[in-house]
Symmetry: C2
Amino acid sequence: MTGRDGGADLAPVGNSPVVILVRPQLADNIGACARAMANGGLFHLRLVAPRDGWPQEKAWRTASGADRLLEAATVHPTVADAVADLHHVFATCPRPRHIIKPVLTARGAGVELREICGRGLRAGLLFGPERAGLDNDDMAQADALVRYPLNPAFMSLNLAQAVMVMAYEWWSAADPTKPRELMTNETQVATKGELENFLAHLVDQLDACGFLRNLPKRPGMVRNIRHFFERGEITEQELRTLHGIVTELAIGRRRRGRLERDDEA
Amino acid sequence: MTGRDGGADLAPVGNSPVVILVRPQLADNIGACARAMANGGLFHLRLVAPRDGWPQEKAWRTASGADRLLEAATVHPTVADAVADLHHVFATCPRPRHIIKPVLTARGAGVELREICGRGLRAGLLFGPERAGLDNDDMAQADALVRYPLNPAFMSLNLAQAVMVMAYEWWSAADPTKPRELMTNETQVATKGELENFLAHLVDQLDACGFLRNLPKRPGMVRNIRHFFERGEITEQELRTLHGIVTELAIGRRRRGRLERDDEA
């Protein structure tokens, strides 16, 4: 089973960069690269002189449903052939050599690729073979090198991981999600007035049960409770739950109080 | 060979978040996660109820030298046990459910983790099992969820890829590299004056060879040549090469000119 009739319903979205795997060795890695590309919204895959030929069934197995990318992949004898119809080429390179070339971070490359593709130009990303990486002639065909900021004490980056980071940055460069948002679903963040209602309810019950009976300390204690509740964004639903908790605890206490009095009687 | 005596010389650097793999199924994935962690400068690995037990030789094979992380990994029966000594816990979750919780992007989480760890607090990152992801009880133990901005049309993210993106964002959050820099090695970007010297040399030779003989068009042609050379950052070394190219082409032309005249004579 090559899975060529299955897989996710993927198609190119807009003008997106071509991923060019240069002399890839393992078909599993090619499949894993396709999966990572699909994760990041990339579609166009080109293979330069894959070691074991193409297609390879193993690639479909690791692509996890990104079959359409593998089906559409093209094979090229040389890097020059694979980039001939492109306008811009970036080459990923963990350890740039003694050459004169712009070096981009993965993030910088993601932003520039969006800008290039947004102008209707065709862009490509070169990834070198698993062990050796791109050679000097490969890199000489690129406009710029891309070096990921990663731990220099451990540079062994899996090929599909390298594609993942770049695909992620491509997607992120156009993603408007805020760094932090409170997911509230059908409820919403409570107003200060709604929180105040709850605090009044709570303090009432704390007065009733005697928790605040030390009058000189009372204002400070109330303030500390307020500090805690003011600190996060409480939702209306959570406030209703907290009202319920306070009410039920108070009723429970009064019931117990009655029972205790009954026992004493 | 488990490779337990080998591997890269990795050790924790500063206060970094703990990666907690919850009920991981495949040992290969655990090893690949360790590799991705090492790429991003993470060290502390905890396993909650790994399906096939621990240790597993396969993990060492896919860790690609991140052996130290696997050796230092601890096994825990529950998420509660694995997070008991931590102050903040983020849970990765591709499809947040109907719960009330802050949702961070991977980038937002990287920045917040740096901030939390910088205050001396201990942080953890939960990753769910390969197929099902984290369950509702797992997520209820987290301060916030982390959702990567990725292609909603293809959500099948490999576990090690998920760890890779977060490790990359952890590293990036403290990395000062500029998005684009010109790598010039031993040379440097030429000044406008140095470029002007070259352009004067070029125009001289173009006058000599007759390329600029159309006098009304000459100023525009010179300006267009200038536009091209002013566009990129040329280095001093590249200018020397260009000077050499112009000189040699001119000498070659003059030699040919002599030969042609000799032929005519």
